[in-house]
């Protein structure tokens, strides 16, 4: 009995060993690649040709958007969460429009045109005539001035106070002309004038009722495509068609903002038709793609993932500028300050594999710091680094990083920055718990070690990581930026004045006087014309691409699933509803 059991055990063990060690018949190398596409990458946005229809568009229909969170307050200068803006965005006119595809500032809202003084400090906005509040009052310059004066008032507590920074004065020249005077030219601050306007005729002149007006809960007066109807907290908000909308009344009857906290329930309701639009989680993509009744809007978002390479010695973090604004020469990083090493890293990574396997197809390779979502500033001609391990090895060989003792790790044999004989050992860190970044770390480690690096990868608690990052005591870090917005100005990542150990976002200690100069010039173009600013940003992108302070891994992607109920939808990365008044029910 005992023996038999022992022999069973032994047999199992042997079987397992044989399985592992079994000599393999010669593999057949198949050249035809099997398709193991994880998710289909829909890179191009759908082109919808809107042809003028001879028959009048079908009236009626309701569009229901699903959201995880409810609005908190329906006042454009008091709200600070995106859910509130989703709802109140329908009611309040704003000075500046935004191109739904490039994010550029365009005269599609209240400002029909504007003039800028020669020095770029005085902006004169000419307003649309004939725009009416739904109670019959005209929308005019007083509403704008009232709104911004309210923000500055001591009686109003708002997170928007910073929108007034740099503004010297706001004057109403006549009911349809506004003059804004700036202290200095700051093109990235132009968006600060884009807040929704309050209907000044419904508020006390001294701003005393802005904070507790019933309009904050029920903004019954509208100048947008829809008029407020009802708000049941944590359940839904409904808005109805504004027949007097100055761009033309929408064809649909109304719009509903429905709160469905669970992402799985949102997807299910989108499939049954209870919801018409939801944000889609990456793991839900296939379901949406396979559903014939649904469209998927996949867009390039305003964020990216990167590997930050510390240019300065992590043992000796220094500020980039002294108190007088002069550049402080940095103690260079013993390995990463060598451009050849940075080039080798950039060439050693298999970006296609990273994007399809680690990011599950939810990404696209980028060449530099300005994203395609900011179309006017992005330089599409710039080529990202190509995956080429032989080239990467060659660069390291040429730069004096060779494996002289043949242990698989390169040493410095005549390299530019490190001591003779020092190994190519670099720490790579990311935050623990983020499985995507942990996977990326494991892959980067394996791919770089394959060409002779000795990468020491660790995933640490997020707070600890941020401490090392801002303290500038790291070597290489996997992290990302999100919510970069419509303006390409990202001087806080590159300008030497933001290289301040402990707080600044230029934690890679990137220092390039030309970049400092270009970043400053790009935001101080009088008139802030996008064509003029773009030339600066193109040069910035070129230099960042050459200098490799970051290895850009992938741009982020957003996904919206929506029903085919209406014709005429044409979503852009910055706005889904920009042409909502032209939508009509599909037959």
């Amino acid at each position: 009995m005992k023996n038999r059991r022992l022999s069973v055990l032994a047999a199992l063990l042997i079987a397992a060993m044989v399985l592992a060690a079994c000599p393999q018949p010669t593999p057949v190398v198949e050249t035809v690649k099997e398709t193991v596409v994880v998710t289909q990458v829909v890179t191009q946005t759908e082109e919808v040709v809107v042809t003028p229809t001879p028959v009048p568009p079908v009236q009626g229909g309701v569009w229901v958007e699903g959201s995880s969170a409810d609005a908190t307050i329906l006042n454009p200068i008091l709200a600070s969460d995106s859910a509130s803006f989703d709802v109140l965005g329908w009611f309040f006119p704003s000075l500046l429009g935004q191109d739904p595809f490039s994010g550029a500032i365009v005269p599609t809202e209240m400002a029909a045109s504007w003039d800028v003084s020669e020095d770029g400090l005085v902006w004169t906005f000419h307003l649309q005539d004939g725009v009416m509040w739904s109670d019959g009052e005209q929308v005019n310059a007083d509403d704008f001035k009232f709104t911004y004066d309210a923000i500055g008032s001591d009686l109003v507590e708002t997170p928007r106070k910073a929108n007034l920074d740099n503004i010297e004065s706001i004057e109403v020249l006549d009911p349809l002309t506004i003059q804004v005077t700036y202290a200095e030219v700051k093109c990235d601050a132009l968006n600060n004038l884009g807040l929704g306007w309050l209907p000044s005729h419904l508020y006390a002149e001294d701003f005393s009722d802005v904070m507790d007006s019933p309009l904050n809960e029920e903004p019954t007066v509208s100048a947008g495509p829809f008029i407020f109807n009802e708000w049941t907290r944590d359940d839904n908000s409904t808005v109805l068609r504004n027949d007097g909308y100055w761009k033309g009344a929408p064809n649909m009857d109304g719009w509903i903002y429905k709160i469905v906290p669970d992402p799985g329930a949102r997807l299910a309701q989108l499939q049954t038709g209870e919801l018409d639009l939801i944000g889609v989680q990456p793991e839900q993509l296939t379901t949406v793609q396979l559903d014939a009744n649904l469209n998927l809007h996949k867009f390039k978002d305003d964020g990216y993932s990167y590997i930050g390479l510390n240019q300065a010695n992590p043992a000796n973090p220094q500020a980039g500028q002294d108190e007088d604004g002069n550049l402080v020469e940095q103690d260079p990083h013993p390995i990463l300050s060598d451009l050849a090493v940075r080039q080798a890293i950039a060439h050693a990574l298999d970006y296609d594999a990273i994007i399809s396997k680690v990011y599950l197809g939810q990404g696209f390779q980028i060449a530099s710091n300005v994203l395609p979502a900011v179309g006017w500033a992005h330089d599409p001609s710039l080529q990202p680094y190509a995956f080429d391990t032989e080239l990467a090895s060659q660069i390291l060989d040429d730069a004096g990083w060779t494996d002289s003792d043949e242990d698989g790790v390169r040493e410095c044999n005549g390299c530019a920055t490190a001591e003779e004989g020092a190994t190519l050992t670099i720490r790579l860190q990311t935050n623990a718990g983020n499985t995507t970044r942990e996977d990326l770390g494991a892959l980067v480690q394996d791919q770089l070690n394959g060409i002779g690096f000795d990468i020491q990868f660790e995933a640490i608690e997020f707070g600890t990581l941020v401490g090392e990052l801002l303290g500038q005591t790291f070597d290489m870090v996997i992290i990302g930026w999100t919510g970069l917005g419509t303006d390409p100005n990202d001087d806080s990542f590159w300008h030497s004045k933001f290289d301040t150990p402990g707080s600044g976002f230029n934690f890679v200690s990137y220092q390039n006087p030309r970049i400092d100069e270009l970043l400053e010039q790009a935001v101080s173009v009088p008139g802030c014309a996008t064509e003029e600013r773009a030339t600066f940003y193109h040069e910035i992108q070129q230099i960042i691409n050459n200098d490799i302070p970051y290895v850009f891994v992938t741009g982020s992607v957003g996904n919206t699933g929506y029903s085919k109920k209406f014709n005429g939808t044409n979503p852009g990365p910055w706005s889904f509803y920009h042409n909502v008044e032209t939508w009509s029910l599909a037959q």
Partner: protein, 342 residues
């Protein structure tokens, strides 16, 4: 044997009776004998032993397969287990699929498939077993030693000693675990040894409480009173009477502990106190597979990562189940009260 020397033929035949020839049974031999009859427990033991041996041999096995635990190959991510196609190939049912898979993987047989980075799941499971089982066993041993010692002392001596120990235990357990975790993360670089120490040093509290309660019960029983009345020393009462009578609880508790420690290890990865990636552990492999389970092949609609969830999941389930079964079997074998029931 004295009976064998008897001259009476009747006695001689009696002596030949194997039933009468057996040796006198001690506590431990009885326990061993009842264990031998307990097939389920033996199977569980066998399973654990195989897992342990395979894990210990992980480097050898990995070498013979020709792939390390952290070797990535993104072009061959999400390969399905090679085992099935291999059997079909060898039995002549499907002569194409297995060689194709080998071609894609560069000649490496991925018996249990590959993960999202093209790493071999079988080899990672073996290496993961070293870490997961190692941490769980070591931490459970630490828990046991601390818990049994402190719990017995508190329960046996009672009074001021008990008050002091219970005060300490209550104080310690009133500090939120997450708070301790963050302090520890800030102070130490996470690695298997700190993880073992941490799990062991936090885990003994429950064991100590349990043992203390049982010791309270046992020391009031008649045989302890009898031992005391004939002047037996404290140490002897403790080791001869009290602890053996707490053994069932200790053993079952230990087996359950090891199981939950395997699971706790994976939960800690979230806080950055877990074992560092890319080092594989069963918990971290399972954890990663959780989010991948929704991935489907756009053409066939088949799940791509099912094997990444099911195989580590089954392995953890079986291991924890085996531990519980062993705990149960050992309790049956060791419990003096259960002796007469079989």
């Amino acid at each position: 044997m004295t009976v064998a020397q008897a001259d009476s033929p009747a006695l001689a035949s009696l002596a030949a009776d194997p039933q009468l020839q057996r040796k006198p049974r001690t506590y431990w031999s009885m326990a061993l004998q009842s264990l031998r009859r307990d097939l389920v427990t033996l199977i569980a033991f066998g399973f654990l032993a195989i897992m342990a041996v395979l894990s210990l041999l992980a480097p050898v096995i990995a070498k013979s397969i020709g792939v390390g635990p952290n070797d990535t190959n993104p072009d061959n991510a999400f390969q399905q287990p090679y085992l099935g196609p291999y059997i079909q190939w060898r039995t002549g049912q499907d002569p194409i699929r297995a060689p194709l898979m080998l071609g894609k993987s560069g000649g490496v047989p991925h018996w249990l498939g590959t993960d999202q980075l093209g790493r071999d799941q079988f080899v990672r499971l073996l290496y993961g077993g070293r870490v997961s089982l190692g941490i769980a066993l070591a931490a459970a041993a630490l828990t046991l030693i601390l818990g049994v010692t402190i719990g017995s002392v508190a329960g046996f001596f009672g009074g001021a000693v008990d008050d002091l120990i219970m005060w300490f235990i209550n104080t310690l357990s009133s500090i939120p675990g997450i708070y301790l975790l963050i302090i520890v993360t800030a102070m130490f670089k996470p690695n298997p040894i700190t993880l073992t120490l941490f799990l062991g040093l936090l885990g003994w509290i429950g064991t100590a409480r349990l043992i203390r309660g049982n010791v309270f019960k046992v020391r009031a029983l008649d045989f302890v009173l009898a031992a005391r009345s004939v002047g037996t020393r404290n140490a002897r009462i403790m080791f001869q009477h009290v602890i053996p009578n707490s053994l069932p609880i200790i053993i079952v508790n230990a087996a359950i502990d090891i199981g939950s420690l395997i699971l706790a290890e994976s939960a800690l990865s979230f806080l950055g106190l877990g074992v560092q990636p890319p080092t594989a552990t069963w918990g971290s492999m399972l954890n990663r597979a959780r989010n991948l389970i929704f991935l489907r092949d756009p053409e066939t609609g088949a799940s791509l990562a099912l094997h990444l969830l099911s195989i580590p999941g089954i392995l953890i389930t079986l291991t924890v189940l085996a531990l519980y079964l062993i705990g149960d079997g050992l309790r049956d074998a060791l419990d003096p009260m259960m002796k007469n029931l079989r």
